[in-house]
C-alpha cells in the first residue's frame, strides 16, 4: 500500500492528504475532482472564486508550492504533498497581509471577485521580484481578468505593497515606474 498524501496511485475515493494554508486535511477525493471544487465545496474555503472553470479568467488562482496556478484546471488527486495557499491563509488573525492592506488603501476592489486571485498572484510575484517596474506588474497579473477596476488601482496597490517594503527583503532604491 502506498501512503496517502503523496499523490501516488490510489483507488478513486481513497483518502488524500491536502496541505492548505499550513493545515492538513485528509479527505476522500474522486478522480475527476479539481482542486477548485475541493477547496470550495469540501473545505468550504470560498474565498477562492470559480469563474470560467476553463483556464481563461484567473479567478480560481491559488498558490501551489508558492506559484500561482489555476485551481480549476488541476486534478485534486495530484495535489497530495503540495503546499496550497488560498486567500484565507494570508491574514494573521485580525492582522491583514500587507498586500490586503495595500488593496484597501488603493481602493483596488470593486465587486471583489478577482481580488483573491490577484492578491495571491501578487504575493508570489513580489516574493520573486521584490521591486518591480509597472510593466513587470502588468505582465505578472495578466493571467487574471478584472471587469471592474480597469486594473489601474490594482497595479497601484501592488506597487504600494512593494514599496512599503513589508513582505520583502531590505529594499534597494525604488525602481523606476
Amino acid at each position: 500500500m502506498t501512503p496517502a498524501g503523496d499523490g501516488i496511485e490510489r483507488a478513486p475515493e481513497a483518502p488524500l492528504t491536502l496541505r492548505v494554508n499550513g493545515e492538513e486535511h485528509t479527505l476522500a477525493v474522486r478522480g475527476h475532482d479539481t482542486l477548485l471544487t475541493v477547496i470550495r465545496e469540501r473545505l468550504l474555503l470560498t474565498g477562492t472564486k470559480a469563474g470560467c472553470t476553463n483556464g481563461d479568467c484567473g479567478l480560481c488562482t491559488v498558490l501551489v508550492d508558492g506559484e500561482a496556478m489555476y485551481a480549476c484546471l488541476m486534478f485534486a488527486a495530484r495535489c497530495g504533498g503540495r503546499d496550497i495557499t488560498t486567500i484565507e491563509g494570508l491574514a494573521r488573525g485580525a492582522v491583514l497581509h500587507p498586500l490586503q492592506e495595500a488593496w484597501i488603501q488603493a481602493g483596488a476592489t470593486q465587486c471583489g471577485i478577482c481580488t483573491p486571485g490577484m492578491i495571491l498572484t501578487a504575493k508570489a510575484f513580489l516574493e520573486r521580484v521584490p521591486r518591480p517596474s509597472e510593466v513587470q506588474v502588468r505582465e505578472a497579473i495578466s493571467g487574471t481578468l478584472c471587469r471592474c477596476t480597469g486594473y489601474m488601482k490594482i497595479i497601484e496597490a501592488i506597487l504600494l505593497a512593494a514599496n512599503s517594503g513589508a513582505p520583502q527583503p531590505a529594499p534597494a532604491a525604488a525602481s523606476g515606474h
Binding site: 499523490g7 501516488i8 496511485e9 490510489r10 483507488a11 478513486p12 474522486r30 478522480g31 475527476h32 475532482d33 479539481t34 476553463n54 483556464g55 481563461d56 484567473g58 488562482t61 506559484e67 500561482a68 496556478m69 489555476y70 484546471l73 488541476m74 486534478f75 488527486a77 495530484r78 498572484t121 505582465e139 505578472a140 495578466s142 493571467g143 487574471t144
Partner: protein, 333 residues
C-alpha cells in the same frame, strides 16, 4: 463530463510508465492544462492518467558535455522562461516561452505537454451536446468537415508556441517506449494529418528535448500574433533561425509557421531565397509572400478571419526576415 473513477498513477521509472501507457485508455499527464479541458469536453476519455513529473530527469534543465541544451519534458514553461541555461544557449526559446498563455498556465504547463497539445477546432472542441447536435466530422470519426467541405481533410489548428521555434532550431526529441529509448528530429513528431497529429505509438512518451545552442554567427527570432497579449493562443506565429549567418559562413536558414495548420510548417522556398548570395529587399518581400502562401488558416478558431491571419503571416515574415537580412549585411559590410 469526466468520469469520477479516473485513476491517477505516478510511476518513478520509464519502463513502468511506458507499460502503464500501453494499457488501453491511458494518457500521459504533466501540467494537465490542455488535457483536462479536452477531458471536460469529452474528446479525451482516458481511464487512467499517468503522471510523468516524477520520472528521472523529467524536470531538469542541463547542458550536456558537448554543450547541447537538454530540457526535461516535464520542465514547466515558467522554468524555461527563467532558466539561466536557456538564456545562455537559446534566449529566443525563453522569449517564445514567455508568450505562452498566461503566467498561471506557464507555471503549470510543461514543455512536453506544449508539444503534444492536440490540434483544435471551434467545431470539435466543444461540449458533447454541441458535437452530438451535428453530424460527426473527420476528427470525430465521421465523414465530413464542418469548416472546409471539399476534401477529406481535417483543418484543426496546432497552436503550440514552442514547436515552431524548436523546429527552426532543429531540436531533437528523446522518446521512451517499452523497447527503450530512441531519438528523432522534432519534425518527425507530426503525422501531417490534423485529425491524428502525432506519430508517437501507444506506450511512448517524450522524456527530453535536445537543442544545439546558438553560437557565434547564429541568429533566431520568434513572433506571435494573438487577440490579446496574454492568455490567448496564437492566431499565427513565426519562428526563424539562421545558423552560420553573420560570421561569413554559407548560412542555413529555417523558417517555420505556427498555428495555421495541423502541424508547424517549414517554408523551404523562402529559406532558399534568403540563403542565396545577393539576397536583397526584393527577396524579403518574395519570401514573405511565400510564407503567407504556406499558411492554411481556416475559419475554425474563435477570432481572426483566415485572410487576416494570412496577411499577418506576411507582416511577421517581412519583419523577421527583413531584420535577419539586415543583420547579415551589417556583419559582412
Amino acid at each position: 463530463m469526466i468520469s469520477p473513477g479516473v485513476r491517477h498513477v505516478r510511476p518513478r521509472e520509464y519502463q513502468e510508465a511506458c507499460a502503464l501507457l500501453h494499457e488501453r485508455q491511458a494518457a500521459p499527464i504533466a501540467g494537465g492544462t490542455e488535457l483536462y479541458l479536452r477531458m471536460k469536453q469529452g474528446v479525451a476519455t482516458p481511464r487512467s492518467l499517468v503522471d510523468l513529473t516524477d520520472l528521472p530527469g523529467m524536470r531538469q534543465i542541463e547542458r550536456l558535455a558537448d554543450g547541447t541544451l537538454r530540457l526535461g519534458a516535464a520542465v514547466t514553461i515558467s522554468a524555461l522562461e527563467r532558466s539561466p541555461l536557456v538564456a545562455e544557449a537559446a534566449p529566443v526559446l525563453a522569449e517564445a516561452a514567455q508568450r505562452v498563455g498566461a503566467p498561471q498556465i506557464r507555471n503549470m504547463g510543461s514543455l512536453g505537454g506544449n508539444l503534444c497539445q492536440e490540434t483544435m477546432c471551434w467545431w470539435y472542441n466543444r461540449t458533447a451536446l454541441w458535437r452530438q447536435a451535428k453530424e460527426p466530422c473527420y476528427k470525430a470519426g465521421g465523414s465530413l468537415c464542418h469548416v472546409v467541405d471539399q476534401e477529406a481533410v481535417c483543418y484543426a489548428a496546432y497552436r503550440s508556441d514552442l514547436a515552431p521555434i524548436l523546429m527552426s532550431l532543429e531540436a531533437e526529441l528523446i522518446v521512451q517506449g517499452r523497447q527503450g529509448e530512441r531519438r528523432m528530429g522534432i519534425d518527425e513528431l507530426y503525422s501531417g494529418d490534423a485529425a491524428f497529429p502525432f506519430t508517437l505509438a501507444a506506450g511512448e512518451l517524450i522524456s527530453a528535448v535536445l537543442v544545439r545552442p546558438l553560437g557565434e554567427g547564429d541568429v533566431a527570432a520568434f513572433a506571435k500574433h494573438a487577440h490579446r497579449r496574454s492568455i490567448d493562443y496564437p492566431l499565427v506565429s513565426l519562428a526563424v533561425a539562421a545558423r552560420g549567418w553573420t560570421n561569413g559562413a554559407a548560412g542555413r536558414l529555417r523558417i517555420v509557421l505556427g498555428a495555421v495548420s495541423g502541424m508547424p510548417i517549414r517554408v523551404p522556398e523562402a529559406e532558399a531565397l534568403l540563403e542565396a548570395a545577393g539576397a536583397g529587399e526584393r527577396s524579403v518581400a518574395e519570401a514573405a509572400a511565400l510564407v503567407a502562401k504556406h499558411a492554411k488558416p481556416v475559419r475554425n478558431v474563435s477570432f481572426g478571419a483566415p485572410a487576416y491571419r494570412r496577411h499577418i503571416a506576411k507582416v511577421l515574415a517581412r519583419r523577421l526576415l527583413g531584420d535577419l537580412l539586415a543583420r547579415r549585411r551589417a556583419s559582412s559590410g
